[in-house]
Amino acid sequence: MSYPTDRKYTKEHEWITADGTIGITTHAQDSLGDIVFVELPKVGTDITVGKPFGTVESVKAVSDLFAPVSGTVTAVNEALATAPEQVNKDAHAAWMVKIKVKDPLEMNALLSASDYDKFVSEEAGH
């Protein structure tokens, strides 16, 4: 699996672009299975690096969304409220929220596409 190189990744399986758009990875949606519910914060909410900011539910499981970096929510993908399956169809296009990144330097701590790919393979292999 090759992951888009236009963004960074977390070990909790989120991605974030340079302009602060956040979603979950293809690997994450595959592990979750059929996604039926996405709960996201309101515009204006401050989110904190490493802390949960929302929830994704599949038929069988509930998973927290963790903030890749700190920032303030500027937009929410409202379409996911009625069509959460879009995340299964194209996880790298079905974004969750956009944030105004508080400290761009926090992005440096995140994984590159190839490092994330390696991380996922290692996780699967253990």
Binding site: S31, G33, F37, S58, V59, K60, V62, A81, N88
Partner: protein, 382 residues
């Protein structure tokens, strides 16, 4: 001093390699390494598997289920003593839903009792309670002239479920399945294997069969693939424990450790119609009589979420004032009904159809309503 803990042994069914080969997502369930769902790439996933069973046919490996055989002159008396339903009503070849109870009227397990012969019964029990159940049955039937055998490892058990299940299995057997009524069994040749037990039973609230074949890997895999091939024209897919759970939940079929347990009694669980108080004395009867006179303090109800949110196992039920009054035993999106449903224990005064309660979901009180159950009932055949 150090405490040495025994390494838990994860058990595998004879079809384990097949599941892995098919790309199933595997999980540990009651000490078993089992498929939870098969990949989307082969038309699977919990929702697709669930829908296949409701509209066509799905195939499940249920070899983790246990089997106990009771045979001998006093087999009926033994079964009557340890189970709550009336096994004397069973004709040879007939099966019934029942339960093993502790003296306090709570559940050792729920079981399907099959009468296989004049003095021969087969109890099909849950995976997580196999050893406990066998010990319980053995210890509580010592006074009867009846042999008790643990046959759990003697079979690979495959469930073929859905409105097209009968058509699929009929292609593979010489037995006339149209003559087998729901909750009856027959024997016949299946995939060339002689004298195979086939029960018209299941855990999906759908028509279907469960077959008991030899437990070696080669035979198990061959039969598995032959069933899938025979089912291809009906859209058959392999199904995992994920769909098994959502299917049984729509049908309000209890799951041990959730709707029933060693702290929940028969009346609370609403299984009255499977408990025959008028039959000769049985374990748990005296306590149940007392419990009935006292009245229940909680009762199992079906809930449908009114507001946005999914109730999950263990979530709290709150009253309008926000006080905790019960809990969710099983909760999930219902793929066929396309609603978020749950089973929950609540006080009897809030159990009427239409009553509203709140489910605590991540700190929020989300509105739900008591609805008739089962949530799903299969359409009667014309």
């Amino acid at each position: 001093m150090s405490v040495v803990e025994a390494t838990p042994v994860i058990r595998k069914t004879a079809l384990n390699a097949v599941h892995r080969q098919m790309g199933a997502k595997m999980v540990e369930f009651n000490g078993w390494d089992m498929p939870v769902e098969y990949p989307a790439a082969i038309g699977c996933g919990i929702v697709a598997e669930h829908m296949a069973v409701r509209t066509g046919v799905g195939i499940f490996d249920v070899s983790h289920m246990g089997d106990i055989r009771l045979a001998g002159r006093e087999a009926l008396a033994a079964v009557q003593h340890i189970s709550m339903n009336d096994a004397s009503r069973l004709a040879i070849g007939q099966a019934q839903y029942s339960a093993l109870l502790y003296p306090q009227g709570t559940f050792v397990d729920d079981v399907i009792v099959h009468r296989l012969g004049e003095d021969e019964y087969l109890l099909v029990i849950n995976a997580g309670t196999r050893e406990k159940d066998f010990n319980w049955v053995r210890d509580n039937t010592r006074q009867f002239d009846c042999k008790v055998e643990h046959l759990s490892d003697n079979f690979t058990q495959i469930a073929i479920q859905g409105p097209k299940a009968v058509d699929v299995l009929q292609k593979l057997t010489d037995a006339d399945l149209s003559a087998v009524k729901f909750y009856w069994v027959t024997r016949g040749t299946v995939c060339g294997l002689k004298n195979i037990l086939m029960g018209r039973t299941g855990y999906t609230a759908e028509d279907g069969f469960e077959i008991y074949i030899p437990p070696d890997e080669e035979t198990s895999a061959r039969v598995w693939y032959e069933i899938l091939a025979a089912g291809k024209e009906f859209g058959a897919v392999p199904c995992g424990l994920g769909a098994r759970n959502t299917l049984r939940l729509e049908g309000k079929l209890p799951l041990y450790g959730h709707e029933i347990s060693d702290t929940i009694n028969v009346w609370e669980a609403g299984l009255d119609r499977f408990c025959k108080m008028e039959k000769p004395d049985f374990l748990g009867r005296a306590a149940l009589e007392k419990a009935k006179a006292e009245g229940v303090k909680r009762t199992l109800v079906g809930l449908e979420m009114v507001d946005r949110g999914i109730a999950r196992d263990g979530y709290k039920i709150l009253d309008e004032g926000g006080s905790e009054i019960g809990y969710v035993t099983s909760g999930s999106p219902a793929p066929f009904l396309k609603k978020n449903i749950a089973l929950a224990y609540v006080p009897p005064e809030l159990s009427a159809i239409g009553a509203t309660v709140k489910v605590e979901i991540r700190g929020q009180a989300v509105k739900a309503q008591v609805v008739p159950t089962p949530f799903y009932k299969r359409p009667k055949k014309a």
